[in-house]
């Protein structure tokens, strides 16, 4: 399959799933009514459901998926490791810690965007720590710094849960950490979109560099790649996009790991081409999972992150199985 054809197919699938996401929900409504309510507007509950609940949910699905897929592809390219995913540099764990502290302290209840804002602060602190720790060392120092920051964030999150005097707060924290797109509004879209867009822009600029990194750091540098700039673009881009994604959706794993893995053979394994393909693929996967959680157990609030792990882990088993077969 040629690269342009792959992009067209992925885009068509994305559009189809976006429409599906708009049409699936607790309130069972005829398709024609739903669409006319979405585009025509008017009074009553139907336009409200379509415009204020389902549209932001579908948009957030696309945004979160693009962020996770793109970040995963960029990180795998930069680290030259198919096992890398956004969580390796600790952004998601730190964003989660910010959110958990906000939930525990009651800050999250003060105003609508308090929780995502706290998560973004967590992500920002994580970036500073990583850049400080990893300095100008190679990719290994970046991974080690990420693991260290991630471990610290997880430990502090556990500490907050541990010391939580109120079981309801602890419960709320655990549910938030499972990741979900339910009950989000346009406020979340408008908060996350500009930050994610900056992140996507930074990651899009890594293409040339990560393509050359196929030959290793020294060869890439000798071909004119500025490794320090590349690392800043990468860490900044992953932090902005994944930090914002975690802030609005909680922790959603596996997308950044599995999507680049599946799409790599279809783009001739070229890291730069994998960026756009994985962004589209990530959006497709998150929308699919978010439609699935509404169909599988309607009314039970199955969490997106839980379903993703349930589906993602077997896909991963399969990949390992295939890899074993090849070697």
């Amino acid at each position: 399959m040629t690269y342009p054809r792959l992009l067209v197919l992925l885009t068509l699938a994305l559009v189809a799933l976006f429409i599906a996401s708009l049409l699936v929900g607790v309130a069972d409504m005829p398709i024609s009514d739903s669409l006319s309510a979405l585009f025509g507007g008017g009074e009553g509950p139907l336009p409200m459901v379509m415009r204020e609940i389902r549209l932001p949910r579908a948009l957030l699905g696309v945004m979160v998926g693009v962020s996770l897929g793109l970040s995963g592809a960029a990180l795998q390219g930069y680290l030259r490791n198919p096992l890398a995913e956004p969580s390796v540099i600790g952004i998601s764990a730190s964003a989660a810690l910010g959110a958990v502290i906000a939930l525990q302290s009651g800050f999250a209840a003060l105003f609508a965007l308090a929780l995502p804002l706290a998560a973004l602060v967590g992500a920002a602190i994580c970036v500073l720590l990583i850049l400080l720790l990893a300095g100008s060392g190679g990719t290994l120092s970046l991974i080690l710094a990420g693991i260290a920051v991630s471990a610290l964030s997880s430990a502090l999150t556990a500490l907050v849960l541990n010391l939580s005097p109120n079981p309801f707060a602890a419960n709320e924290i655990i549910f938030w950490m499972m990741g979900s797109l339910a009950d989000r509004s346009f406020l979340h879209v408008w908060m996350a979109l500009p930050i994610m867009a900056v992140g996507w822009g930074l990651l899009a600029l890594t293409g040339r560099g990560i393509d050359r990194l196929t030959l290793g750091e020294e060869a890439a540098a000798s071909m004119g790649v500025n490794l320090k700039h590349l690392r800043l673009l990468l860490v900044g881009g992953v932090a902005a996009s994944v930090g914002a994604a975690t802030a609005v959706a909680g922790a959603v794993g596996f997308v950044g790991l599995v999507v680049p893995h599946i799409l790599r053979p279809l783009v001739g394994a070229r890291p730069a081409r994998l960026l756009l393909a994985s962004a589209l693929g990530g959006a497709i996967l998150v929308l699919t999972a978010d439609v699935a959680v509404r169909l599988i157990l309607p009314g039970r609030d199955l969490k997106l992150g839980v379903l993703m792990a349930l589906v993602g882990a077997p896909v991963f088993f399969h990949l390992i199985w295939r890899m074993r077969g090849r070697s």
Partner: protein, 244 residues
């Protein structure tokens, strides 16, 4: 005009000095063999000259921006890394902004006898074939200077000779090649100039016949050699270790 000049290039790793005030100048048309025992500082000299590792002293290449340096010199590292199963043509075209039909890319593929491999996955090739692909990538950069770290390591004799002949041909076209080598026979036969490193210092620099003497080889490498002039040119054979 020199393609590369280093002045008192010094590299320290902790308290140890791995490169000690190395001064070197590379002129167009030279094929320079960089020789020395393990740990003498051959790779360190090449990488410090390119500015890939921090060093004291001056190097004309290290002062350039990465983009300007990429036009001035190509670098073939010793580690043969190919991270993803991309096609040979794509890998070589990385040196030319991914234009797989660029004349420099096609010329490099042809020169390394790789035209039939262009669509194959680079990771599926044998070690020797991969080495040729990586040499082709460096050639496709089309620079006046090529620095190569042990490019013949792991190649069969025919491809070792082929590699050295390719580099010698580049020098014949007015470019320059600096190549670190462990094979003293290849160095003696194919290089126009030999630079000898020992414990981080340049201890000899000149034409092979002047530099590669039994006394120097015994002193620097602790080996006894057979050196002979034949109709094919200079021949050098290591024979035995010398007790010091």
């Amino acid at each position: 005009m020199s393609l590369l000049t280093t002045q008192n290039l010094t590299v320290r790793r902790g308290a140890r000095v791995t490169l000690d005030h190395a001064s070197l100048s590379v002129e167009p048309g030279e094929m320079i063999g960089l020789i020395g025992p393990n740990g003498a500082g051959k790779s360190t000299l090449l990488r410090a000259a390119l500015g890939l590792i921090p060093a004291e002293g001056d190097s004309t290449l290290a002062q350039m921006s990465p983009t300007a340096r990429a036009k001035a010199a190509a670098w073939l590292p010793q580690a043969r890394e190919i991270a993803w199963p991309v096609s040979v043509a794509h890998l070589v075209s990385l040196a030319q902004n991914e234009r797989e039909d660029a004349p420099e890319v096609l010329a490099a593929l042809k020169r390394m006898d790789l035209l039939d491999f262009a669509d194959r996955k680079a990771t599926g090739l044998s070690g020797g074939e991969q080495a040729r692909v990586l040499i082709a990538r460096a050639l496709a950069q089309d620079t006046p200077l090529l620095l190569a770290d042990e490019p013949t390591a792991g190649l069969d004799p025919a491809h070792q000779i082929g590699c050295m002949e390719t580099f010698a041909a580049l020098a014949g076209e007015g470019r320059s090649v600096v190549v670190s080598l462990h094979d003293l026979g290849l160095a003696a036969r194919h290089c126009t100039r030999i630079v000898v490193l020992s414990e981080g210092r340049i201890v000899a620099d000149g034409p092979p016949r002047e530099v590669l003497t039994e006394a120097l080889l015994a002193e620097v490498f602790a080996i006894r050699c057979h050196i002979a002039e034949t109709p094919e040119g200079m021949v050098l054979h290591p024979l035995s270790q010398v007790k010091r």
